[in-house]
């Protein structure tokens, strides 16, 4: 199956892919900070360089940590909880 070969090919080059990803992330922030026309921004906060990058990252981390904290308060329970 060619698709599997393609995925394997990419997996074998995981390190390179990760490096490329970091470069892309960096470029996004640099572009946002230096070149992006922000006349269409809705609020003053968006004028801060890389605002949406920080927002996305913080959102992700908050969602994971707060949800897991909530889940471990007792919301997550054994699978046969409802079986008597």
């Amino acid at each position: 199956m060619d698709l599997v070969k393609l995925i394997d090919y990419l997996r074998d080059r995981q390190k390179t892919l990760i490096r490329i990803s970091y470069v892309v992330l960096g470029l996004l922030v640099v572009f946002d900070a230096l070149f992006l026309d922000k006349t269409k921004a809705h609020t003053w906060m968006e004028m801060l360089p890389g605002f949406w990058s920080v927002y996305g990252f913080v959102a992700c981390v908050l969602i994971i940590i707060l949800s897991k904290w909530y889940g471990h308060l007792g919301i997550m329970t054994r699978e046969d909880y409802y079986d008597n």
Binding site: L3, D32, L36, W52, S53, Y55, A59, C60, I65, E79
Partner: protein, 592 residues
């Protein structure tokens, strides 16, 4: 009786459902595809106007209100019916196809109706027929889950009906038009609650993950598309601009995301993301401007396709391997590569990745809330969209097709890409998701109001790419925290699944102590002749009453459970007959 030649697509599906058992083999497959295509054709050939008006007693009943709002919903629902039926083409159970079509027919009935009376009728047809899509899974847990689903929707139906009756008393009018949301009265609130229950707005949402996780593979594909989106249509029609819907929608969007983090079952995770996505639509209805309603409709349209696609992908995994829990799956890309690609396309679409469908629809709602300066809603909805990508875009594909391989030997051997029809259905849905994302006029020209919105601006692209890619960064940095845990999460269905048992246990005590007290009265105040008897009785009471009553209570519980089981069977039969009669009545009404 009709003002013009106009065929209700619901009639095509209902008649098709009646005739289906007469077809076998190859002819059956062809028939299965032809019927929903005809229904789609009926929607395509519709002109705007009002059709199918009947007078029943003093009421005017309208079956065919065709305007831009109902047309776009009719279009996507019949289209999804084609895709869903193709996906389930291999399913030998005629019953699943029949109930699925009746369910779609019920949705279409609601979409095109012009009065509350027929709305209620079709609303109930949806609940009656869709419950079979759970029961056809034929496991004990799906039987119980279906019963809960049915009872919850029965409750919602009663509330809706009460609202309709009071509304009629107040106004003398049954036409289903925009309600007075500026000064809502009891009737309007009751109708709203009926709609909100079907839209799965917390705290009336717990039926959704419960049902969609237990439904058949094909059933879930249908269910995820119709119930909530019909409710969104009804809200958009009747409640546009009702401000309380904005916070409710935002809460929904976030609630679904939180529970999706905790979920171990991929179909339940997707179900929680239905709640999250419908939250955007509910918020859009609450904002209520032309742009926001356009966004709501566009997002419902895109959502039906990508959510159907996601349920098809995860359903294919369940169908092939028998597993739907992340803690039983992993590393499957070697075995089911195409299912992976299709599911990924669904995931990128729901995550609103540029060039995928969600990007061109979700953006409208967020833009509408920015335009109205409702910044908190706009920012929180954006936060929820990071959560969407985190789960449906990353967690689902990663933990099923990559990640740690938790598959048993058996699971691994069974896993492979599914049959051609399932693949074709997923391919079509994937193609549409990309087409909608790339060629915006296709969707935008169908929207109820004129639109000049342009999602592909440099600023918006940069905003979305930053949010999504930095979410991905967070995902890979915290991936250990997200590793699947074999647990279930308690949601508000606890109150009717567990709460009743707890209540009984609690109620046992007063019952027992009343009994003891009564014996005491009897012993002390009783006649001398029976004193001895009373003494014995009270002694017996004092020593054994707690145990006996508890035992009795538990026996009653046990009997109740058995009754439950046999009743479930009865209710199924009863429902089957009821649906059958409803069909005949409908056929009678339309043809004579």
């Amino acid at each position: 009786m009709t003002t013009d030649l106009w065929i209700h697509p619901a009639v095509i599906l209902a008649v098709g459902a009646l005739l289906l058992p007469m077809f076998k083999g190859q002819a059956r497959s062809i028939f299965l595809l032809v019927v929903p295509i005809l229904a789609f054709g009926a929607v395509l050939s519709m002109n705007q106007g009002t059709y199918g008006i009947f007078h029943y007693m003093q009421w005017e009943i309208t079956f065919g209100r065709v305007d831009r709002l109902s047309l776009v919903f009719g279009y996507i629902m019949t289209l999804m019916c084609i895709i869903g039926t193709l996906y389930g083409l291999h399913v030998k159970d005629d019953g699943q196809h029949i109930t699925a079509w009746l369910y779609v027919a019920g949705s279409l009935g609601v979409i095109f109706c012009g009065d509350f009376l027929s709305l209620f009728l079709f609303w109930e047809v949806m609940a009656f027929s869709s419950v079979f899509l759970i029961w056809y899974r034929k496991t004990d847990s799906s039987l119980a889950s279906g019963l809960r689903y049915f009872l919850v929707h029965g409750f919602g139906g009663v509330v809706l009906l009460a609202g309709i009756v009071i509304h009629y008393q107040n106004t003398g009018d049954l036409s289903f038009v925009h309600l007075n949301v500026a000064e809502p009265n009891l009737a309007i609130y009751l109708i709203l609650i009926g709609f909100l229950l079907n839209a799965a707005v917390p705290p009336l949402h717990a039926w959704l993950p419960d049902a969609y996780g237990e439904a058949t593979v094909m059933g879930a594909v249908f269910m995820c598309a119709f119930t909530t989106k019909t409710a969104v249509y009804a809200l958009a029609r009747g409640f546009a601009g009702m401000e309380i819907l904005i916070p409710l929608g935002v809460i929904m969007a976030l609630y679904g995301v939180v529970y999706a983090v905790l979920e171990n079952d991929c179909r339940r995770l997707l179900a929680y993301h239905v709640i999250s996505q419908v939250g955007y639509m509910v918020a859009g209805v609450g904002i209520g401007t032309a742009l926001a309603i356009n966004g709501t409709v566009a997002h419902a349209f895109a959502h039906i396709l990508y959510k159907g696609l996601l349920f098809m992908g995860c359903g294919a995994v369940l169908h092939m391997t028998g597993k739907s829990k992340f803690s039983d799956l992993g590393g499957l890309y070697k075995k089911m590569p195409w299912t992976f690609v299709f599911t990924l396309i669904g995931g990128l679409s729901i995550s609103a990745f540029p060039l995928f469908s969600g990007f061109v629809s979700k953006s409208i709602i967020v833009a509408a809330s920015f335009d109205e300066h409702i910044y908190w809603a706009a920012f929180l909805l954006t936060l929820a969209s990071a959560g969407t990508f985190l789960h449906t875009g990353l967690k689902v594909p990663y933990f099923i097709w990559f990640g740690k391989n938790n598959c048993s030997q058996e699971t691994w051997e069974k896993a492979k890409d599914p049959s051609w029809n399932m693949m074709a259905a997923m391919a079509i849905a994937s193609a549409l998701c990309i087409f909608i994302g790339v060629y915006t006029p296709y969707l935008y020209n169908m929207l109820p109001y004129g639109i000049t919105f342009q999602p592909y601006t440099m600023y918006h692209l940069m905003e979305v790419m930053q949010i999504l890619l930095f979410t991905a960064l967070g995902f890979f940095l915290l991936i250990k925290k997200l590793a699947p845990e074999p647990t279930i999460s308690i949601d508000l269905d606890w109150f009717y699944r567990k709460g009743s048992t707890q209540f009984l246990r609690f109620a046992n005590r007063p019952v027992a102590s009343t009994d003891t007290a009564w014996s005491e009265v009897y012993r002390k105040g009783g006649l001398a002749g029976v004193m001895g008897l009373a003494k014995g009785s009270s002694q017996f009471d004092r020593e054994d009453i707690d145990r006996v009553v508890d035992g009795t209570a538990y026996n009653v519980l046990k009997i109740g459970k058995n009754i439950n089981k046999s009743q479930t069977g009865n209710i199924q039969e009863y429902l089957g007959i009821a649906v059958f009669f409803a069909l005949i009545v409908a056929a009678f009404v339309f043809f004579i």
